[in-house]
């Protein structure tokens, strides 16, 4: 993670200060989200239609991003691919981070055997190679979108749990936690109101990292043919199926790679440059 904060210029608006980098990153993410939602209405061709006589066609009018290895419209496929990449990855990262962080905080606050059991179980989960786990699950129950989301989430829960637990354990030793405990507060209050606000920034940074990992793993699974099944394709699958275009510098292989890069880099830049509330009231 880069610490770009000190060098980028910040401007203020509504009591928060923003950095230009963060705003640009947010716009890129917003644009891809809009594309993901609106994809079926804006694609010029159906993703399965073969519209070009040649394969790996160049960029030209009508086929703005050229054609793929079967002569299908690349623009439509990338736009539809955004749906799967953004949708599946976001759903998976939400599930993974939410469960991981909540479990991690509960383990830190409760301690004792619950902490031990959870930690050992999730450590065991962590030791299974992610691609192998995906392979087994897909082999067992077949590949579908819900299965993919759950598989990706399960793979990344242990990491999120470890991360949140490590942070929460530090907060848990603070005196204000003791004060809250002797006040008689329950676990839900302790984790939601006392711990979470203090670890939310690193947790969000972790969220961003994990999102990138999931996008890459999903692309990896698709590359191996375990992800989405044709003619549906996420960006990773698009790179794989068009890899043969690499010697011809075909846009069909360059564009989805750029799409993956733009999304993952933007998410991280945004999280590094979240708006900061200005605490200096006299200004």
């Amino acid at each position: 993670m880069t610490m770009a904060r000190a060098t980028t210029s910040r401007r203020s608006f509504l009591g928060h200060s923003y950095s230009l980098v963060g705003v640009v990153a947010a716009l890129v993410i917003l644009a891809w989200t809009l594309v993901a939602i609106l994809a079926p209405y804006i694609i010029p061709h159906s993703i399965g239609d073969i519209v070009d006589d040649d394969y790996f066609g160049p960029m030209r009018q009508g086929l703005w991003l050229g054609s793929d290895y079967l002569g299908r419209d690349m623009l439509s496929r990338v736009l539809m691919g955004a749906r799967y990449t953004v949708g599946i990855s976001l759903a998976a990262v939400f599930i993974a981070c939410f469960s991981g962080v909540v479990l991690g905080m509960i383990a830190a606050v409760t301690g004792g055997w619950l902490d031990t059991c959870l930690s050992r179980f999730l450590d065991a989960m962590n030791s299974i190679p992610s691609k192998l786990f995906g392979l087994v699950v897909v082999a067992a129950v077949g590949s579908s979108i819900p299965v993919l989301i759950l598989t990706l989430a399960v793979i990344y829960i242990p990491g999120a749990y470890r991360f949140a637990r490590a942070l929460a354990v530090n907060i848990n030793t603070m005196d204000f936690m003791t004060v809250a405990r002797v006040r008689g507060e329950n676990t839900i209050y302790l984790i939601g109101s006392e711990i979470l606000p203090n670890i939310i920034r690193p947790v969000l940074a972790d969220f961003g990292l994990r999102f990138v990992f999931i996008v890459l793993l999903l692309s990896g699974l698709s590359f191996l043919g375990l992800g989405l099944q044709p003619p549906l394709a996420d960006w990773g699958a698009l790179v794989r199926e068009n890899i043969g275009g690499l010697p011809f510098a075909a846009p069909a292989v360059v564009v989805p790679s750029l799409a993956i890069a733009s999304l993952t880099i933007s998410v991280n830049l945004l999280i590094d440059n979240l708006p900061q509330k200005i605490r200096d009231r006299d200004a």
């Binding site: 005196d175 204000f176 405990r181 008689g184 200096d280």
Partner: protein, 551 residues
């Protein structure tokens, strides 16, 4: 160039997160001749540490030296390059930090760290540096000077570590040593040893010093001259004797007044009282596995009994590690006692807080020493104070908001502070918020665990005054835990002296001049006095020191 240090019209600016520039040092000038120790004294935020650090040409992150000259040993530290500054740090100027424990690297031996300066500056071969270090250890009267260097930082006590930090500063033969509150974190009995060691080494070497502190009594022992700072400006400068006897500036007088013994109000309700609020019988608490007889392996509190009467205060005094905080935590149920009975307001209490009823928890509140960690940094003052209101009293939003205003008034904080977060408050303000949260529960007993220890003398005395006033208004009782005798004396009706987990003596404040137990004698005689000759004239029974001092 007549003086070793000549600072002229020093200005330092800081930039806030909104880009606003604040001038934190506003034209400070001071001179230090060779071999003189000058104390910088003032409340927190007065700029005393900032001035001291600037002598090394250093400004903390976000701060900038914007004007003036800092001539140290003929070099203007503000103007020379960072490389030249680095060359003079450790050889011309050295620094002893406030917390030696946090400044030593836990993973290498003390000797390696003490002689590191000589290695960086190529001053002498390592063998010679080690010999020099051992000489310094001797001069600083450290035990086992030959062998202590081979230990790791966690294997020596806090007072020893502080002296080792001084050895580290002195090994490069500096002309000026900056002490940044070096004894603030130490017990009074340890503080004396450290002060004596500092004083003799500095005097023997003819080294000039800057001693940053907020404790006038400590400064009186070690400094030749005192510079009083407030709000980034010099308020008053003078010799130690002159400042102590004939201070002209109002702020200096205020500082001195905080040391005056406060007249104790005699309890008017003496006839009403005498009803027990809290009774503890043979309470034992500790750490480690529990043995078959129900006692823990390490007993931090050993068969302590005490009694707190309604509307009266009990002081618990002792050095760090004597078990006084464990006692507080055992009473509050945070660290359940192994054996013993706690009777509160006529009813026996469960030992663990989680088994006590909500009302029992409400009636006994505990206030911790460090408001920094006792207040959630992510929440506003309003959220912090209103949580007990919602939790214990079920008040709705509007009633809570009204009550928060009342509580802020009670602890003498402006109402506008409610939107701030703890990090935006001063130390004294934080401690008041900490206290307001305890008051919000409407308790009968408040356990105050060293609540003034992290505060300046002036601020601490106003907090004590506040506690007294609130007691009169709200009929509270306090258990007041502290290592500072003057604080306990000012507020308590009974004082219990603890040593090594046991209660050694219980006395009333008017009898502190004549304690009977030897440990109490040692403890009470170790409290620094404003008299500059006090330290030199202090004679302590060596047997007592051997028996009870942690050297």
């Amino acid at each position: 160039m007549t003086n070793l240090v000549e600072v002229r019209d020093l200005r330092i600016e800081a930039t806030t997160d909104a880009g606003r520039i604040v001038e934190i040092i506003k034209g400070v000038s001071l001179d230090i001749p060779d071999g003189e120790i000058v104390a910088l004294i003032g409340e927190s935020g007065s700029g005393k540490t900032t001035v001291a650090l600037s002598l090394m040409g250093y400004a903390r992150p976000g701060c900038r030296i914007t004007g003036g000259e800092i001539n140290v040993n003929g070099k203007n530290m503000a103007a020379i390059s960072e490389k030249e500054r680095a060359r003079s740090r450790g050889t011309d100027i050295a620094y002893v930090p406030q917390s030696a424990a946090a400044s030593f690297n836990p993973s290498s031996t003390i000797m390696e760290q003490v002689i590191e300066v000589t290695r960086i500056h190529n001053l002498m071969p390592p063998e010679q540096a080690r010999q020099r270090a051992v000489e310094l250890f001797k001069a600083l009267s450290l035990p086992d000077p030959e062998g202590i260097g081979a230990r790791y930082p966690h294997q020596v006590s806090g007072g020893q570590l502080q002296r080792l930090a001084a050895a580290m500063a002195l090994i490069g033969d500096p002309k000026l040593v900056i002490f940044d509150e070096p004894t603030t974190a130490l017990d009074v009995t340890t503080q004396i040893d450290v002060l004596k060691a500092f004083k003799s080494v500095m005097r023997a070497g003819g080294i000039a010093g800057v001693y940053v502190s907020h404790d006038l009594a400590v400064v009186a022992q070690i400094a030749d001259r005192i510079v009083v700072l407030k709000g980034g400006e010099v308020q008053e400068t003078g010799t130690t004797a002159a400042i102590l006897s004939a201070a002209t500036h109002a702020y200096t007088r205020e500082l001195l007044a905080a040391f005056e013994p406060k007249p104790r109000q005699t309890q008017a309700n003496a006839d009403v009282g005498a009803k027990a609020l809290l009774r503890i019988d043979n309470l034992t608490a500790g750490y480690g596995p529990v043995r078959t007889n129900g006692q823990p392996v390490v007993r931090a509190v050993d068969s302590v009994s005490l009694l707190v009467e309604r509307g009266r205060n009990l002081g618990v005094i002792g050095e760090s590690g004597c078990g006084k905080s464990t006692l507080a935590r055992a009473i509050a149920g945070i660290h359940p006692a192994a054996t013993g009975d706690i009777v509160f307001d006529g009813k026996a209490l469960e030992r663990a807080a989680k088994n006590r009823s909500r009302d029992q928890l409400r009636e006994m509140q505990i206030v911790f020493q460090y408001a920094d960690t006792a207040l959630n940094p992510a929440k506003s003052v309003e959220d912090i104070i209103s949580r007990p209101l919602a939790f214990y009293h079920g008040l709705d939003r509007e009633a809570r908001s009204k009550r928060v205003d009342e509580l802020l008034d009670m602890v003498r904080l402006p109402r506008t502070l409610r939107y701030r977060r703890p990090s935006e408050l001063s130390g004294g303000q934080k401690q008041r918020v900490n206290f307001a949260r305890a008051l919000a529960a409407d308790p009968k007993l408040i356990i105050c665990d060293e609540i003034t220890s992290a505060l300046d003398t002036v601020v601490a005395s106003t907090v004590i005054e506040l506690l007294k006033e609130l007691q009169r208004e709200l009929e509270l009782s306090y258990i007041f835990i502290s290592h500072d005798l003057s604080v306990v004396e000012a507020i308590c009706d009974q004082i219990m002296v603890m040593y090594n987990g046991e209660r050694v003596e219980q006395i009333t404040p008017d009898k502190v001049k004549a304690p009977t137990h030897p440990y109490s004698k040692l403890l009470f005689s170790s409290v620094p006095k404003l008299d500059p000759t006090w330290l030199d004239g202090l004679v302590r029974d060596p047997e007592l020191v051997n028996q009870y001092g942690h050297r």
